[in-house]
Amino acid sequence: MYLINTDYNTLEVRPEEIWKSLGWKNQKVSEELKEKTESIIDKAKHLIKPKSVLLTGDLVKTEDSLSFYGIELGGKTIKNFLETSGSAALMAVTLGIEIDREIKRLERTDLTSALLLDACASLLVEALCDKVSDDLALEMKEENLYTTERFSPGYSDLPLELQPKLLNLLDTQRKLGLTTTSTNLLIPRKSVTAFIGIMDKPREIRSSRCNNCILKGKCKYGICYHET
């Protein structure tokens, strides 16, 4: 099943969020920086062309493998992550190339603005992901199904090498203009691919593992699927 959405112009980001992502700890901020940040947010909103694709399908599980539409999902963590999911959704989202270009331009003329715009765009793409995930969760709820958080290639031991296969599966070049580099980075830069598990019942949170986890302190999920 595909969902193609282009109407995501309600994405919001606040100056404080941008600053926080750049290490702000409530230091006093000058009016100038405040204004600059606001104008950057405004600029970002005019430059982004949010697009997304979503594909749901059954997960095929064997003793030691997990696959989605014939694509083998390597690494242990994703297996734990999708342990109680019978099916999953694969999403790809992008803000488009124009914001990449503007960041590039600003890097040459006003590096502070470039940094702010880059941070702003990262938050916007995250917001776009949230929107897609939320929509999916709502839709699933109608069928009494539950969804997990997102899990992307490159996180923990899910290999980045999956990217081209996932993009191919979703036909993202044609649908979103989304491609990878030879080293599996997504272009446009402000893009994300991620799996979301679909479950019959909500899952318990297993946080006891965190203490010994290699991602301790770096984990952005707050919920653990990692093999200790």
Partner: protein, 798 residues
């Protein structure tokens, strides 16, 4: 028999969707690679072709859309095997013609992505060579990057004689995903030699109509359309395209009535669509598309016509007489070129002349890099300014559009070198009115050279509308009697040949006082003599004024709209600026506080003031470094955060430039505290972090050579040796690319380089950086400054 595509008496019908048909026949699963079916299920593919042929298709496209080496990498088959198999199936079908299908690589080209133009060209060449001898057309389709389709088009033209169809895909905002509009796409592709141009995939035929009409409005060659059957929708868990063959064919009929003569279908279409189209379109006579040929330049996002008014060519990307550009070229750090491009664009330039000529540098390599970078950030077309054939060729190749070549002259050698390149790359070319014997003194002799260039160009099929003649501006202080000859030449070029003209205006005043004044009067005279493309400094107010006024006089600025907008409140604006400037000067803060507060403009004014009385070195140490140290300390204590640190650093930049200028004018070079090489490592393209480090280091007086992103070990070793940089900074943001960092350090050591290496990037840790053999781990930009300071003070003390 090859179809006579130039004089299509009747429409040519292509087939419809292939993927859709494979899915209908359950021949392929999602994510499977269709080209592999050429080997595993040839009969099904042939069956699909024959169904299309029964429905009316004249041409079937080979099942090779994804058959490039990047996509086939894990398939177990070679490009040659797959392509040959595909071509054989197409030819064994009942179709009259077959077209070798080539789609995009799946990667984006440099500099937005990291696939080089050369590799893309190579990938496409491989497909062309494998299939061209048994097919009737080559079709390049569903491209959204103008530079990538250019690579494919050149590969097709270079390796076959077949007619080439170049078709791009557009998004719902009317542009391709990389920002190219249909007119720019059409002009660029036909100038590059595409035999048929058009659009496929994208949207449904109704939504494509406006895009198709734009293409038809500039087309000089037949136009192809292969639309989707609407946007896919989900009905009962199945992907359904909602536009019926009936509706679809109505739209296609309208396109044909407007002149589209090559027709097929894309995603969601099947033989029923082709049948419905043929039924309707066969009933009509498709009108021949006739468009007046106009002289146009393109960048990847914009078309600039040269025949509808004065166009300003920005002259400032030229190292002649500009120390900071010379320095940038020697350091191979092109940020200032890019900043100057953007400045000139903002100031009103229409075209940017790009010149990197400097003794001792590799001009071909440099020009290629600079053109690549500039063309990715500006929407203006470029004028590639080099006397060297190799450099010209390299730059033309990777330029994503139709540029101007600056220049060809009347000498045989020049014409033999430049004109074939102009033809191949569809470029306009500046014709210099000189030859082996130098610059003729008389108008008549100059016109003879113009005639010679026009005649020679015609032999290559280059129309004189693509030649812009430079009447050759002479310096009034040296050759006063020649100034009028130039103006007279301009007039006669217009009268006798009706060609476009250009002139490097600023040369006239060399050696004279008040050059802006002189230039603007000369420019007025030249415009009046028929000058179309003045090469000037768009930042010069008097020059701008002349052009703004002239644009009213020659009826180009309609209803004086632009003029009124810019000049109505002018006096008031000048007064406000003055008040602000004075207010700034009376600022009670000293330079140090201004920097700490991150006030850039104020810091510049204050530096100008200080420089009148204080030695540059003192300003650097007592104000700038002292401020930076304080800010750095506050940053490390967490009293301020990164954007604030950077604002201070930004405030220093302007001040620093002034100080550098001053010391340079005194012939001193006391400010160089040491040389540092920076790079983002192979495989990684993140560069903001590295650029922040660079700015901070430069502010402390270090000379930083920035190699950019995606840099391999060999380049780093070569450059570190060549530039003699004792310290190297490496940046990597991904876990995967930290590996390249390790490799670079290993190779440096293997090569006996004892340069110190500092590393930084989000995924790095102190421990990890030790493990990969780095000398210092920098958790942030300030840390790199601290290490550089320590390192260079030790070096000095030794």
């Amino acid at each position: 028999m090859k179809p006579d595509i130039n004089y299509l008496k009747k429409p040519l019908y292509f087939d419809g969707a292939f993927g859709t048909m494979l899915q209908k026949k359950n021949a392929i699963g999602l994510g499977e690679l269709p080209p592999v079916l050429n080997i595993t299920k040839p009969d099904i593919i042939r069956e699909i072709y024959n169904e299309y042929v029964s429905a009316g298709s004249d041409v079937v496209t080979t099942n090779t859309f994804e058959a490039n080496r990047l996509k086939l990498k894990d398939s177990g088959y070679s490009v040659d095997e797959i392509v040959k198999a595909a071509v054989a199936i197409a030819n064994s079908s009942k179709a009259e013609y077959s077209a070798l299908d080539i789609g995009p690589t799946g990667q984006l080209l440099e500099p937005m992505g990291n696939l080089s133009f050369e590799e893309a060209y190579d990938i496409f060449s491989e497909i062309v060579k494998a299939g061209e001898d048994q097919t009737d057309f080559i079709i390049l389709e569903t491209f959204s990057d103008l530079l990538e389709i250019k690579a494919a088009l050149l590969a097709a033209k270079d390796h076959s004689e077949l007619p080439v169809i170049a078709s791009m895909t557009f998004s719902d905002d009317g542009r391709t995903f990389t920002g190219t509009d249909p007119i720019t796409a059409a002009i660029t592709l036909q100038e590059l030699g595409a035999d048929i141009i058009g659009v496929n995939c994208s949207l449904g035929p109704g939504d494509l109509l406006p895009i198709v009409k734009k293409i038809l409005s500039v087309a000089q060659v037949p136009v192809i359309v292969q639309a989707n059957a609407g946007l896919p929708q989900i009905i009962d868990n199945k992907t359904v395209y909602t536009i019926t063959p009936e509706e679809y064919s109505d739209y296609v009929l309208e396109m044909a009535q407007n002149g589209v003569s090559v027709i097929g279908g894309c995603c969601g279409t099947d033989p029923d669509y082709i049948r419905a189209i043929k039924e309707k379109v066969d009933q009509i006579k498709i009108p021949e598309v006739k468009n007046k040929k106009r002289t146009a330049l393109t960048s990847s996002t914009k078309t600039t016509y040269l025949d509808d008014g004065i166009k300003i060519t920005g002259e400032r990307l030229n190292p002649t007489g500009r120390d900071n550009l010379k320095e940038a070229l020697r350091a191979q750090s092109y940020d200032i070129y890019i900043a100057e491009s953007l400045n000139q664009e903002r100031e009103g330039a229409d075209i940017l002349d790009v010149n990197v000529g400097l003794p001792g540098i590799d001009e071909a390599e440099t020009l290629k890099k600079v053109v690549k970078e500039i063309s990715s950030v500006t929407s203006l077309p470029l004028q590639i300014d080099t006397p060297k054939g190799k450099a010209l060729k390299e730059a033309l190749k990777i330029y994503p559009g139709i540029p101007i070549i600056n220049s060809v002259n009347g000498s045989k050698e020049s014409m033999d070198t430049v004109l074939p390149l102009a033809k191949k790359y569809g470029a306009c070319v500046i014709g210099l009115l000189l030859d082996e014997e130098g610059i003729p003194k008389t108008v008549e002799k100059r016109l003879e050279i113009a005639q010679k260039i026009i005649d020679e160009a015609a032999k290559y099929g280059i129309d004189k509308s693509k030649i812009i003649f430079d009447a050759l501006c002479v310096t009034a202080s040296a050759q006063q009697e020649g100034v009028m000859v130039t103006l007279e030449t301009l007039k006669r070029l217009k009268e006798d040949f009706g060609v476009l003209t250009t002139l490097g205006v600023s040369n006239v005043s060399f050696g004279l006082p008040e050059r802006d004044l002189f230039n603007s009067v000369y420019l007025t005279a030249a415009l009046n003599s028929g000058l179309n493309l003045p090469i000037v400094n768009p930042g010069s107010e008097p020059i701008k004024e002349v052009i703004d006024v002239y644009r009213v006089i020659n009826n180009e600025d309609r209803e004086s709209k632009n003029y009124i907008e810019n000049y109505s409140n002018r006096n008031r604006k000048i007064i406000t600026d003055k008040v602000q400037a004075e207010g700034r000067k009376s600022s009670s803060k000293d330079l140090k506080s201004l920097i700490i507060d991150g006030l850039k403009e104020e810091a510049i004014s204050e530096t100008i003031k200080l420089l009148e009385t204080v030695e540059p070195e003192v300003i650097l140490n007592d104000y700038i470094i002292s401020a930076l140290n304080e800010v750095g300390e506050r940053f490390e204590k967490g009293e301020i955060f990164l954007p604030q640190l950077m604002q201070s650093a930004g405030a220093v930049q302007g001040a620093f430039e002034l100080i550098k200028k001053k010391t340079a004018s005194q012939g001193l070079n006391k400010l160089d505290k040491g040389k540092i090489l920076l790079a983002t490592v192979k495989g990684d393209i993140h560069d903001i972090g590295k650029n922040i480090v660079k700015m901070m280091l430069e502010n402390y007086g270090y000379t930083v050579y920035d190699l950019g992103t995606d840099v391999d070990a060999e380049t780093i070793i070569t450059k570190a040796k060549e530039l003699d940089t004792p310290l190297i900074g490496l940046s990597a943001l991904m876990t995967t690319t930290v590996e390249s960092m390790k490799e670079i350090i290993e190779k440096l050591r293997e090569n006996g380089c004892d340069n110190k290496v500092m590393v930084g990037g989000a995924v790095l840790t102190e421990d990890y950086s030790k493990m990969i053999g780095a000398d210092c781990y920098c958790s942030d930009a300030q840390a790199s400054v601290r290490y550089a300071n320590e390192f260079f003070s030790e070096v000095t003390n030794e």
